[in-house]
Amino acid sequence: MSDNILKVENIKKSFGGVEALKGVSLEIRKGEIHCLAGENGCGKSTLIKIVSGVYEADEGSIELDGKSFSRMSPMDAIARGVQVIYQDFSVFPNLTVMENLALNMELMAERKLVSYKRIRAIASEALAKLGVDLDLEERVENLSVANRQLIAICRALLHDAKLVIMDEPTTALTKREVKALFAIIKRLQAEGISILFVSHKLDEVFEISERYTIFRNGQNVATGETSGLDRKAFVRYMTGREFSEESYRPAKQGEVVLAAKNLSLTGAFKDLSFELRAGEILGITGLLGSGRTELVQTLFGIYKPDSGEVQVRGKRVRIRGVKSAIRMGIGYVPADRLTEGLFLPQSIVRNIVVSKLDRLSGLFGVLKGKAIGAEVEKWVRELSIATNDPSLPVQTLSGGNQQKVVLARWLANDLSVLILNGPTVGVDIGSKYDIHALLRSLAERGLAIIVISDDLPEVLACTSRILVMRGGGIAEVLDPASTTEQRLGEISTGVA
């Protein structure tokens, strides 16, 4: 018997002539937590499907728990102890907790009739494995995302799992829920179960895994002990590029372009005062409900403050709405760029110039084709948007490039203040660094930027000053160079 629960070698798989996997290998030892990382499209999901028997590899060998397979069915995989926790958890929202836990077992046993006594027993046993307490009669759709995931995990354990594959398990979880999930993963490990943790989130990889394997473009890039890996190397393996990790310092103290004085909005924030200078990147962080989103939406004219004032370049202003905010040079990129910011089926050109059309049109509102072309060309070049034809729909671009189009639209408006809410949510690591670099270069040219983010490493890496909000007020203002993620977390939760 080998020490490996899973050993795949030189796996190749093509779909219609496109090579998704160009000969990858992966070894997972018994009882280890192994992280499989890589950017979107690197072949992670394809390998999972091969290991769980859903796809058949074109070439290569699979060895599961000491047994070699040339062809493997999903049933073979399950029988050898492989269980996959899918990103959508594969639960039945309309059925009760106990049915969700027990149905798979009953199907495996080829039962024709249902015994609720047996189902209850199986379900109780499943929950007991993780010491979880859930109402067995509750419908799963009434549970939180984390609890649905727990059900998927408990269900997997019923099948004498030896290898549990978790596909991007933290995507929809809050920080607290991620912590709880990690505790569970450790517990599974203690029982001798191997975990293949698939993720592209660098912090999670460092926190949970013992060994790692990184894919890029369907090939192995690196594998080894996580303890011997640093952030820089990780990012380099993932993206194939180098990025600097220094925090940003504005070259000179700029003038105050935007200031809030004792600003209040009932139910959201109270008595807030701060200044924003040209050339700085101000990070605002805090838990959901701390009032951070409402604050910036107030500055952008979406809400009307109950009291207090806003000053633009030293003059008191009344922002009557979004249009008036834009006229004053304030731009806002919302959190969900896909649903809020872009007209996905429309061309890149139209998306960039949409908020500037009145200035790009001549007499009687006729659009000036040439002027528009020049404007768009300028931004595509400056922001290095990866497209060779700006007349294509925006939805043909990758997430990071879509984000750049949103930025271009705002920059086309000659802004002095740009507010970004969660600018890199759902963007892969390479594009994330690109966007950070872009923000810096914009700030260097004199733009004042506010970044709202949950992603603490991002806040530390790309801002020059951090404002931590808690319960509708400013808890503290910090210098990113002299603080840590932990400190930020403590301040926002009020633990400190």
Partner: protein, 337 residues
């Protein structure tokens, strides 16, 4: 305590409440609602729509929609009737039911093939087959009203008991076909609750991909549903013919809308996954009581459609509002650990 909370989320209590209110209104207006013969009349009127609604509910729970059942019922019933008339059949009525079920099953199999195996959208398929089956009836069978064979006529006159209204001395007969409804309810209840096949219907309606991964034979379950519902429709057609003592090829057509409205009123989720027999029967009861009591309430004929429409809109609206409510709950649900 927990059960009370869960009950409040279900729609059955609301439909039941609406029925109670409606009954009280009718009673106040006519003094005739809670009389033996009126209740028997209502039960009788419920038989055919209730039988249809059982099948419609199963289909909707599985995530589909079926509008072809009246056409299947009509053609199955009519073909059976004509064949039996042609051979001068005078034997047991069970053969008539078995034949109608067989024809229904065959037509259901057409739906099953197109929906289960070829994966075409259910609404499009059943609209198409509905038209097809009606067309066969018109074209190939040149259908027109026709009498029923003697054994079915006798079956139509059978009664379980006669209820008498003591006030007015009116009598109403409970037809024996109600036993078929009760039998179907019991059968489907056991099927849905105590067989893996039944749970598979719910599972597919909840998440088809998850059902496939869990090991349900999704195609098999769908084929079963449409065949079963087809057979049930065939039996229902024969029930109608025997109760009316006449085989009318078109008077079931158009019933699909009332039946589906009743199923949705009863809390069956339009997108699939949720639905109970209790709720469905309550929904049918509400629709039937309503449509058979407008004269008792004293609503003039000219206003009956307005009244019925309003009740359907309010009823389904409340159901939809509740569904929206559960969606909102979901979005704001906090951490669970």
């Amino acid at each position: 305590m927990i059960n009370m909370r869960r009950m409040a989320k279900r729609s059955e209590p609301y439909v039941f409440g609406a029925i109670v209110l409606l009954c009280l209104l009718i009673q106040v207006q006519s003094k005739q609602f809670f009389t033996g013969n009126n209740l028997v009349d209502l039960a009788r009127s419920m038989i055919v729509p209730a039988l249809f609604s059982i099948g419609a509910m199963m289909v909707i729970v599985s995530g589909g929609i079926d509008v072809s059942f009246p056409a299947i019922a009509s053609l199955a019933m009519y073909a059976t009737d004509r064949i039996l008339l042609n051979v001068n059949y005078s034997g047991n009525v069970m053969l008539a039911y078995a034949m109608a079920a067989g024809f229904g099953l065959a037509m259901g199999a057409v739906n099953a093939l197109l929906i289960g195996v070829l994966r075409l959208p259910t609404l499009v398929v059943t609209l198409g087959t509905s038209s097809l089956f009606t067309g066969i009836m018109q074209g190939a069978l040149a259908a027109s009203e026709s009498p029923v064979p003697p054994s079915i006529l006798a079956h139509g006159k059978e009664k379980l008991f006669t209820a008498t209204n003591t006030q007015l001395g009116l009598t109403s007969d409970m037809p024996s076909q109600i036993l078929i409804l009760l039998g179907a309810l019991l059968l489907v209840f056991l099927l849905l609750r105590y067989t893996m096949l039944g749970r598979g219907i719910y599972a597919i309606g909840g998440d088809e991909a998850a059902a496939r991964r869990a090991g349900f034979n999704v195609v098999g379950v769908k084929v079963f549903i449409y065949c079963f519902v087809g057979a049930m429709a065939g039996v229902t057609g024969m029930v109608r013919a025997s109760m009316m003592m006449n085989a009318h090829p078109t008077n079931l057509l158009g019933m699909e809308m009332t039946v589906i409205a009743a199923v949705v009123l009863g809390g069956t989720r339009v997108t699939g996954g949720l639905g109970t027999l209790t709720g469905t029967m309550l929904g049918v009861a509400l629709m039937i009581i309503l449509s058979n009591s407008l004269i008792l309430i004293g609503i003039p004929t000219y206003w009956t459609r307005v009244f019925t429409g309003a009740v359907i809109i309010i009823g389904t609206g409340v159901t939809a509002w509740q569904a929206g409510g559960s969606g909102r709950r979901l979005a704001s649900s906090g951490t669970g650990l």
